[in-house]
Protein backbone atom coordinates (compact mmCIF):
# COMPACT_ATOMS: atom_id res chain seq x y z
CA UNK A 1 0.00 0.00 0.00
CA UNK A 2 1.64 3.23 -1.07
CA UNK A 3 1.23 6.37 0.95
CA UNK A 4 -1.10 8.67 -0.95
CA UNK A 5 -0.69 11.78 1.16
CA UNK A 6 2.47 13.35 -0.19
CA UNK A 7 0.61 16.02 -2.05
CA UNK A 8 -0.89 17.20 1.22
CA UNK A 9 2.35 17.63 3.05
CA UNK A 10 4.92 20.29 2.55
CA UNK A 11 4.85 23.92 3.52
CA UNK A 12 1.15 24.61 3.22
CA UNK A 13 -0.94 23.68 6.23
CA UNK A 14 -3.35 20.81 5.53
CA UNK A 15 -6.87 21.98 4.72
CA UNK A 16 -8.29 20.43 7.87
CA UNK A 17 -10.06 21.79 10.90
CA UNK A 18 -7.96 22.38 14.02
CA UNK A 19 -7.65 19.34 16.26
CA UNK A 20 -10.28 19.63 19.01
CA UNK A 21 -9.06 19.66 22.62
CA UNK A 22 -11.87 17.85 24.43
CA UNK A 23 -12.78 14.49 22.91
CA UNK A 24 -15.65 12.38 24.16
CA UNK A 25 -15.09 8.69 23.34
CA UNK A 26 -18.29 6.68 23.47
CA UNK A 27 -18.99 3.41 25.22
CA UNK A 28 -22.65 2.47 25.46
CA UNK A 29 -21.97 0.44 28.60
CA UNK A 30 -20.98 3.55 30.56
CA UNK A 31 -23.97 5.71 29.81
CA UNK A 32 -26.25 4.40 32.55
CA UNK A 33 -29.94 4.26 31.73
CA UNK A 34 -29.79 7.24 29.37
CA UNK A 35 -29.55 6.91 25.60
CA UNK A 36 -26.12 7.49 24.11
CA UNK A 37 -27.55 10.07 21.75
CA UNK A 38 -29.03 12.05 24.66
CA UNK A 39 -25.72 12.10 26.50
CA UNK A 40 -23.82 13.09 23.35
CA UNK A 41 -26.32 15.82 22.53
CA UNK A 42 -25.96 17.23 26.02
CA UNK A 43 -22.16 17.17 25.78
CA UNK A 44 -22.33 18.87 22.39
CA UNK A 45 -24.54 21.65 23.70
CA UNK A 46 -22.09 22.13 26.56
CA UNK A 47 -19.24 22.56 24.07
CA UNK A 48 -17.43 19.25 23.76
CA UNK A 49 -14.77 19.52 21.04
CA UNK A 50 -15.30 16.21 19.23
CA UNK A 51 -17.07 12.92 19.70
CA UNK A 52 -15.42 9.64 18.78
CA UNK A 53 -17.90 6.83 18.18
CA UNK A 54 -16.22 3.71 19.54
CA UNK A 55 -18.59 0.77 19.85
CA UNK A 56 -16.43 -2.17 18.88
CA UNK A 57 -19.12 -4.80 19.24
CA UNK A 58 -21.51 -3.19 16.75
CA UNK A 59 -21.62 -4.59 13.20
CA UNK A 60 -21.12 -2.10 10.36
CA UNK A 61 -24.80 -1.45 9.72
CA UNK A 62 -25.66 -0.65 13.32
CA UNK A 63 -22.51 1.42 13.74
CA UNK A 64 -23.42 3.43 10.65
CA UNK A 65 -26.95 4.01 11.99
CA UNK A 66 -25.53 5.20 15.31
CA UNK A 67 -23.05 7.47 13.51
CA UNK A 68 -25.80 9.03 11.44
CA UNK A 69 -27.91 9.77 14.51
CA UNK A 70 -24.96 11.25 16.39
CA UNK A 71 -23.94 13.38 13.44
CA UNK A 72 -27.39 14.92 13.38
CA UNK A 73 -27.36 15.90 17.06
CA UNK A 74 -23.74 17.06 16.89
CA UNK A 75 -24.30 19.74 14.27
CA UNK A 76 -20.95 21.49 13.72
CA UNK A 77 -19.15 19.44 16.39
CA UNK A 78 -16.91 16.93 14.60
CA UNK A 79 -17.82 13.25 14.74
CA UNK A 80 -14.95 10.79 14.46
CA UNK A 81 -15.53 7.07 13.94
CA UNK A 82 -13.19 4.62 15.63
CA UNK A 83 -11.39 2.10 13.39
CA UNK A 84 -13.73 1.98 10.40
CA UNK A 85 -12.89 4.44 7.66
CA UNK A 86 -15.68 2.94 5.57
CA UNK A 87 -18.32 3.75 8.18
CA UNK A 88 -16.81 7.22 8.69
CA UNK A 89 -17.11 7.91 4.97
CA UNK A 90 -20.60 6.46 4.69
CA UNK A 91 -21.80 8.51 7.65
CA UNK A 92 -20.22 11.75 6.47
CA UNK A 93 -18.15 11.93 9.65
CA UNK A 94 -15.38 14.50 10.07
CA UNK A 95 -12.78 11.78 10.29
CA UNK A 96 -11.62 8.48 11.65
CA UNK A 97 -9.69 7.53 14.74
CA UNK A 98 -7.43 4.57 14.04
CA UNK A 99 -6.49 2.04 16.73
CA UNK A 100 -2.80 1.35 17.26
CA UNK A 101 -3.13 -1.76 15.05
CA UNK A 102 -5.67 -0.20 12.70
CA UNK A 103 -5.55 0.84 9.04
CA UNK A 104 -2.54 2.79 7.79
CA UNK A 105 -3.20 6.55 7.80
CA UNK A 106 -2.52 6.74 4.07
CA UNK A 107 -5.33 4.27 3.37
CA UNK A 108 -7.78 6.24 5.48
CA UNK A 109 -6.63 9.48 3.88
CA UNK A 110 -7.20 8.16 0.37
CA UNK A 111 -10.71 7.11 1.29
CA UNK A 112 -11.71 10.15 3.32
CA UNK A 113 -9.84 12.91 1.53
CA UNK A 114 -7.74 15.90 2.57
CA UNK A 115 -10.37 17.46 4.84
CA UNK A 116 -10.75 14.51 7.15
CA UNK A 117 -9.23 14.45 10.61
CA UNK A 118 -7.28 11.24 11.09
CA UNK A 119 -5.98 10.25 14.51
CA UNK A 120 -4.05 7.28 15.82
CA UNK A 121 -3.98 5.64 19.26
CA UNK A 122 -0.47 5.33 20.65
CA UNK A 123 1.05 4.09 23.88
CA UNK A 124 4.46 5.67 23.77
CA UNK A 125 6.95 7.94 22.07
CA UNK A 126 7.97 5.51 19.32
CA UNK A 127 4.39 4.83 18.25
CA UNK A 128 3.71 8.56 18.29
CA UNK A 129 6.71 9.18 16.01
CA UNK A 130 5.45 6.52 13.60
CA UNK A 131 2.00 8.11 13.60
CA UNK A 132 3.57 11.47 12.79
CA UNK A 133 5.62 9.92 9.99
CA UNK A 134 2.57 8.31 8.39
CA UNK A 135 0.69 11.61 8.41
CA UNK A 136 -1.72 11.39 11.34
CA UNK A 137 -3.29 14.69 12.36
CA UNK A 138 -3.14 13.89 16.07
CA UNK A 139 -2.48 11.06 18.46
CA UNK A 140 -4.42 9.85 21.44
CA UNK A 141 -1.91 8.77 24.06
CA UNK A 142 -2.80 6.41 26.88
CA UNK A 143 -3.24 5.10 29.41
CA UNK A 144 -2.24 8.10 31.56
CA UNK A 145 -4.09 7.48 34.83
CA UNK A 146 -5.72 4.34 36.21
CA UNK A 147 -9.15 3.78 34.69
CA UNK A 148 -12.03 1.37 34.92
CA UNK A 149 -12.33 1.34 31.09
CA UNK A 150 -9.00 -0.42 30.67
CA UNK A 151 -8.44 -2.33 33.93
CA UNK A 152 -5.29 -4.39 33.55
CA UNK A 153 -3.34 -1.58 31.91
CA UNK A 154 -0.64 0.11 34.02
CA UNK A 155 -1.02 3.89 33.96
CA UNK A 156 1.88 5.68 32.28
CA UNK A 157 1.57 8.98 34.13
CA UNK A 158 2.15 12.56 33.03
CA UNK A 159 5.85 11.94 32.35
CA UNK A 160 4.83 10.06 29.20
CA UNK A 161 2.64 12.97 28.12
CA UNK A 162 5.59 15.32 28.51
CA UNK A 163 8.02 13.01 26.71
CA UNK A 164 5.62 12.41 23.81
CA UNK A 165 4.69 16.06 23.41
CA UNK A 166 8.39 16.91 23.26
CA UNK A 167 9.09 14.18 20.72
CA UNK A 168 6.39 14.92 18.12
CA UNK A 169 4.98 18.08 16.63
CA UNK A 170 1.51 16.52 16.48
CA UNK A 171 -1.19 17.46 18.95
CA UNK A 172 -1.16 14.90 21.77
CA UNK A 173 -4.53 14.04 23.29
CA UNK A 174 -4.21 12.26 26.62
CA UNK A 175 -6.61 9.45 27.56
CA UNK A 176 -7.15 7.20 30.54
CA UNK A 177 -8.59 8.31 33.83
CA UNK A 178 -8.64 12.01 32.91
CA UNK A 179 -11.13 14.01 34.94
CA UNK A 180 -11.82 17.52 36.20
CA UNK A 181 -9.15 17.20 38.87
CA UNK A 182 -6.23 16.16 36.67
CA UNK A 183 -7.13 17.75 33.31
CA UNK A 184 -5.27 21.00 33.94
CA UNK A 185 -2.11 19.16 35.03
CA UNK A 186 -2.36 16.98 31.91
CA UNK A 187 -2.39 20.03 29.66
CA UNK A 188 0.39 21.63 31.70
CA UNK A 189 2.47 18.50 31.03
CA UNK A 190 2.21 19.19 27.30
CA UNK A 191 -1.03 17.63 26.12
CA UNK A 192 -2.92 19.55 23.46
CA UNK A 193 -6.11 18.15 24.90
CA UNK A 194 -7.83 15.24 26.60
CA UNK A 195 -10.13 12.39 25.70
CA UNK A 196 -12.64 11.09 28.23
CA UNK A 197 -15.21 8.37 28.45
CA UNK A 198 -16.71 7.91 31.89
CA UNK A 199 -15.94 11.48 33.05
CA UNK A 200 -18.79 12.59 30.77
CA UNK A 201 -20.72 9.40 29.93
CA UNK A 202 -21.19 8.37 33.55
CA UNK A 203 -21.53 11.85 35.04
CA UNK A 204 -24.84 12.74 36.75
CA UNK A 205 -24.91 15.77 34.44
CA UNK A 206 -22.96 15.26 31.20
CA UNK A 207 -23.40 18.97 30.46
CA UNK A 208 -21.95 20.07 33.79
CA UNK A 209 -19.09 17.58 33.44
CA UNK A 210 -18.34 18.84 29.94
CA UNK A 211 -18.36 22.45 31.12
CA UNK A 212 -16.03 21.65 34.02
CA UNK A 213 -13.58 19.83 31.73
CA UNK A 214 -13.65 22.76 29.33
CA UNK A 215 -12.90 25.13 32.16
CA UNK A 216 -10.00 22.93 33.26
CA UNK A 217 -8.58 23.01 29.72
CA UNK A 218 -8.62 26.77 29.91
CA UNK A 219 -9.57 27.81 26.39
CA UNK A 220 -11.15 26.84 23.10
CA UNK A 221 -12.11 23.14 22.94
Amino acid sequence: MSDGIHVLRGDAAPPRPPVPRLHLVTDRRLRGDRSLVAVVAEAARAGVGAVQLREKDLPGGALLAEAEVLRRVLGATPLLVNDRADVALAAGAAGVHLPAAGLPVGVARRLLGPWALIGRSVHGVEEARRAADEGADYVILGTIFATGSKPGRAPAGLALVAATARAVALPVIAIGGINQENAAATVAAGAHGIAVMSAILSAPSPAAATAALRAALGSEC
Binding site: M1, G60, G61, L64, D86, A90, G102, L103, V107, L111
Partner: protein
Protein backbone atom coordinates in the same frame (compact mmCIF):
# COMPACT_ATOMS: atom_id res chain seq x y z
CA UNK B 1 -13.19 -4.30 -15.48
CA UNK B 2 -14.19 -7.16 -13.26
CA UNK B 3 -17.85 -6.14 -13.03
CA UNK B 4 -18.35 -6.67 -16.76
CA UNK B 5 -17.93 -10.41 -16.51
CA UNK B 6 -16.92 -12.54 -13.59
CA UNK B 7 -17.16 -16.15 -12.60
CA UNK B 8 -17.73 -16.85 -8.92
CA UNK B 9 -17.70 -20.63 -9.51
CA UNK B 10 -16.07 -22.40 -6.62
CA UNK B 11 -15.95 -19.62 -4.05
CA UNK B 12 -13.79 -20.31 -0.99
CA UNK B 13 -14.40 -18.42 2.24
CA UNK B 14 -11.54 -18.39 4.73
CA UNK B 15 -12.00 -19.43 8.34
CA UNK B 16 -8.89 -19.68 10.47
CA UNK B 17 -10.71 -21.57 13.23
CA UNK B 18 -11.57 -24.41 10.84
CA UNK B 19 -8.20 -24.59 9.12
CA UNK B 20 -6.71 -27.22 11.45
CA UNK B 21 -3.95 -24.89 12.55
CA UNK B 22 -2.63 -24.30 9.05
CA UNK B 23 -1.89 -20.72 7.98
CA UNK B 24 -4.74 -19.26 5.92
CA UNK B 25 -2.44 -18.26 3.07
CA UNK B 26 -1.27 -21.86 2.76
CA UNK B 27 -4.85 -23.15 2.78
CA UNK B 28 -5.88 -20.63 0.13
CA UNK B 29 -2.89 -21.49 -2.07
CA UNK B 30 -3.92 -25.16 -1.97
CA UNK B 31 -7.55 -24.32 -2.71
CA UNK B 32 -6.44 -22.29 -5.73
CA UNK B 33 -4.33 -25.20 -6.99
CA UNK B 34 -7.45 -27.33 -6.65
CA UNK B 35 -9.47 -24.97 -8.84
CA UNK B 36 -11.03 -22.26 -6.66
CA UNK B 37 -12.42 -19.40 -8.74
CA UNK B 38 -12.90 -16.85 -5.97
CA UNK B 39 -11.57 -16.32 -2.43
CA UNK B 40 -13.22 -14.30 0.29
CA UNK B 41 -11.20 -13.16 3.29
CA UNK B 42 -13.42 -13.55 6.32
CA UNK B 43 -11.23 -12.80 9.30
CA UNK B 44 -11.92 -13.69 12.89
CA UNK B 45 -13.23 -10.86 15.03
CA UNK B 46 -10.16 -10.80 17.23
CA UNK B 47 -7.72 -10.23 14.38
CA UNK B 48 -6.56 -6.60 14.32
CA UNK B 49 -6.96 -4.63 11.12
CA UNK B 50 -3.17 -4.62 10.77
CA UNK B 51 -3.15 -8.44 10.92
CA UNK B 52 -6.10 -8.64 8.53
CA UNK B 53 -4.29 -6.33 6.13
CA UNK B 54 -1.13 -8.44 6.28
CA UNK B 55 -3.11 -11.61 5.57
CA UNK B 56 -5.10 -9.78 2.90
CA UNK B 57 -1.93 -8.69 1.10
CA UNK B 58 -0.76 -12.30 0.97
CA UNK B 59 -4.12 -13.47 -0.38
CA UNK B 60 -4.22 -10.64 -2.90
CA UNK B 61 -0.83 -11.68 -4.25
CA UNK B 62 -1.87 -15.36 -4.48
CA UNK B 63 -5.20 -14.65 -6.15
CA UNK B 64 -3.78 -12.11 -8.56
CA UNK B 65 -1.05 -14.47 -9.68
CA UNK B 66 -3.66 -17.18 -10.32
CA UNK B 67 -6.30 -14.96 -11.91
CA UNK B 68 -8.70 -15.76 -9.08
CA UNK B 69 -11.20 -13.22 -7.70
CA UNK B 70 -10.41 -11.82 -4.27
CA UNK B 71 -13.12 -10.40 -2.02
CA UNK B 72 -13.07 -9.03 1.51
CA UNK B 73 -15.89 -9.70 3.93
CA UNK B 74 -17.61 -6.72 5.55
CA UNK B 75 -14.82 -4.10 5.58
CA UNK B 76 -15.14 -1.95 2.48
CA UNK B 77 -12.21 0.18 3.62
CA UNK B 78 -9.96 -2.87 3.77
CA UNK B 79 -11.24 -4.09 0.39
CA UNK B 80 -10.26 -0.78 -1.18
CA UNK B 81 -6.94 -0.69 0.66
CA UNK B 82 -6.02 -4.18 -0.54
CA UNK B 83 -7.16 -3.50 -4.08
CA UNK B 84 -9.52 -6.45 -3.76
CA UNK B 85 -11.90 -7.29 -6.58
CA UNK B 86 -14.79 -6.63 -4.27
CA UNK B 87 -16.42 -6.55 -0.88
CA UNK B 88 -19.07 -8.88 0.49
CA UNK B 89 -21.59 -7.46 2.95
CA UNK B 90 -24.16 -9.21 5.10
CA UNK B 91 -27.53 -7.88 6.16
CA UNK B 92 -25.98 -6.47 9.36
CA UNK B 93 -23.10 -4.79 7.58
CA UNK B 94 -22.85 -1.56 5.60
CA UNK B 95 -25.70 -1.25 3.11
CA UNK B 96 -24.67 -2.23 -0.42
CA UNK B 97 -25.10 1.26 -1.88
CA UNK B 98 -22.75 2.73 0.73
CA UNK B 99 -20.29 -0.13 0.33
CA UNK B 100 -20.33 0.69 -3.40
CA UNK B 101 -19.62 4.34 -2.60
CA UNK B 102 -16.51 3.25 -0.71
CA UNK B 103 -15.10 0.62 -3.07
CA UNK B 104 -15.93 2.59 -6.19
CA UNK B 105 -17.59 1.69 -9.48
CA UNK B 106 -15.08 -0.93 -10.61
CA UNK B 107 -15.21 -3.43 -7.75
CA UNK B 108 -17.80 -6.08 -7.00
CA UNK B 109 -20.28 -5.66 -4.20
CA UNK B 110 -21.76 -8.95 -3.03
CA UNK B 111 -24.65 -9.15 -0.61
CA UNK B 112 -25.89 -11.98 1.61
CA UNK B 113 -29.59 -12.62 1.09
CA UNK B 114 -31.75 -15.25 2.73
CA UNK B 115 -35.06 -14.28 1.13
CA UNK B 116 -36.46 -13.00 -2.16
CA UNK B 117 -37.17 -9.65 -0.46
CA UNK B 118 -33.57 -9.28 0.68
CA UNK B 119 -32.39 -10.27 -2.78
CA UNK B 120 -34.61 -7.68 -4.47
CA UNK B 121 -33.44 -4.99 -2.06
CA UNK B 122 -29.81 -5.91 -2.69
CA UNK B 123 -30.36 -5.65 -6.44
CA UNK B 124 -31.99 -2.26 -5.92
CA UNK B 125 -28.98 -1.14 -3.86
CA UNK B 126 -26.58 -2.08 -6.64
CA UNK B 127 -25.32 -5.52 -5.67
CA UNK B 128 -23.34 -7.39 -8.33
CA UNK B 129 -24.05 -10.85 -6.96
CA UNK B 130 -25.86 -12.54 -4.11
CA UNK B 131 -24.72 -15.03 -1.52
CA UNK B 132 -27.87 -16.99 -0.77
CA UNK B 133 -28.13 -19.07 2.37
CA UNK B 134 -27.65 -20.73 4.63
CA UNK B 135 -28.66 -23.46 2.18
CA UNK B 136 -27.97 -26.20 4.71
CA UNK B 137 -27.34 -26.13 8.42
CA UNK B 138 -23.91 -24.74 9.19
CA UNK B 139 -21.69 -24.67 12.22
CA UNK B 140 -19.32 -22.05 10.85
CA UNK B 141 -21.74 -19.17 11.32
CA UNK B 142 -23.89 -19.75 14.38
CA UNK B 143 -25.78 -16.50 13.68
CA UNK B 144 -26.63 -17.46 10.09
CA UNK B 145 -30.26 -18.38 10.75
CA UNK B 146 -32.48 -21.23 9.57
CA UNK B 147 -31.42 -23.32 6.58
CA UNK B 148 -33.34 -22.19 3.49
CA UNK B 149 -32.63 -25.15 1.19
CA UNK B 150 -31.51 -25.09 -2.47
CA UNK B 151 -35.07 -24.26 -3.58
CA UNK B 152 -34.53 -20.75 -2.25
CA UNK B 153 -31.89 -20.27 -4.95
CA UNK B 154 -34.46 -21.24 -7.58
CA UNK B 155 -36.99 -18.80 -6.12
CA UNK B 156 -34.49 -15.94 -6.06
CA UNK B 157 -33.14 -16.65 -9.54
CA UNK B 158 -36.71 -16.50 -10.86
CA UNK B 159 -37.17 -12.97 -9.54
CA UNK B 160 -33.73 -11.36 -9.39
CA UNK B 161 -31.41 -11.10 -12.41
CA UNK B 162 -28.12 -11.43 -10.51
CA UNK B 163 -25.51 -14.16 -10.23
CA UNK B 164 -26.09 -16.27 -7.13
CA UNK B 165 -23.73 -18.35 -5.06
CA UNK B 166 -25.22 -20.69 -2.52
CA UNK B 167 -23.57 -20.72 0.90
CA UNK B 168 -23.93 -22.64 4.11
CA UNK B 169 -23.07 -26.27 4.74
CA UNK B 170 -22.25 -27.02 1.09
CA UNK B 171 -19.96 -30.00 0.55
CA UNK B 172 -19.26 -32.84 -1.85
CA UNK B 173 -22.66 -34.49 -1.36
CA UNK B 174 -24.69 -31.31 -1.80
CA UNK B 175 -22.88 -29.12 -4.33
CA UNK B 176 -24.64 -30.77 -7.29
CA UNK B 177 -28.07 -30.00 -5.82
CA UNK B 178 -27.07 -26.36 -5.28
CA UNK B 179 -26.00 -26.03 -8.91
CA UNK B 180 -29.08 -27.89 -10.13
CA UNK B 181 -31.22 -25.37 -8.25
CA UNK B 182 -29.81 -22.66 -10.52
CA UNK B 183 -26.81 -21.34 -8.63
CA UNK B 184 -23.99 -19.74 -10.59
CA UNK B 185 -21.50 -20.91 -8.00
CA UNK B 186 -21.09 -22.35 -4.55
CA UNK B 187 -19.39 -20.80 -1.56
CA UNK B 188 -17.63 -23.37 0.56
CA UNK B 189 -16.02 -22.97 3.93
CA UNK B 190 -15.39 -26.06 6.06
CA UNK B 191 -15.51 -28.62 3.22
CA UNK B 192 -12.41 -26.94 1.82
CA UNK B 193 -10.52 -25.10 4.57
CA UNK B 194 -11.20 -27.90 7.07
CA UNK B 195 -10.26 -30.74 4.70
CA UNK B 196 -7.20 -32.83 5.48
CA UNK B 197 -6.14 -32.39 1.84
CA UNK B 198 -7.37 -28.95 0.83
CA UNK B 199 -6.25 -29.18 -2.79
CA UNK B 200 -7.90 -32.54 -3.35
CA UNK B 201 -11.11 -31.37 -1.67
CA UNK B 202 -11.26 -28.28 -3.88
CA UNK B 203 -10.55 -30.33 -7.00
CA UNK B 204 -13.29 -32.81 -6.15
CA UNK B 205 -15.84 -30.05 -5.44
CA UNK B 206 -14.91 -28.23 -8.62
CA UNK B 207 -15.38 -31.40 -10.71
CA UNK B 208 -18.76 -32.05 -9.12
CA UNK B 209 -19.75 -28.43 -9.71
CA UNK B 210 -18.78 -28.50 -13.37
CA UNK B 211 -20.54 -31.83 -13.90
CA UNK B 212 -23.76 -30.42 -12.41
CA UNK B 213 -23.74 -27.15 -14.33
Amino acid sequence: MVRNGFNLGLYVVTDERLSLGRPTAEVVAAAIRGGADAVQLRAKDDLSVREQAALGRALRALTRAAGVLFLVNDRADLAAALDADGVHVGQDDLPADLARHIVGPDRLVGVSAATVEEALAAREAGADYLGVGPIYGTLTKPDAGEAVGPERITAIKARVPLPVVGIGGIGRDTIAAVMAAGADGAAVVSAIVGAADVEAAARDLKARMLAAR
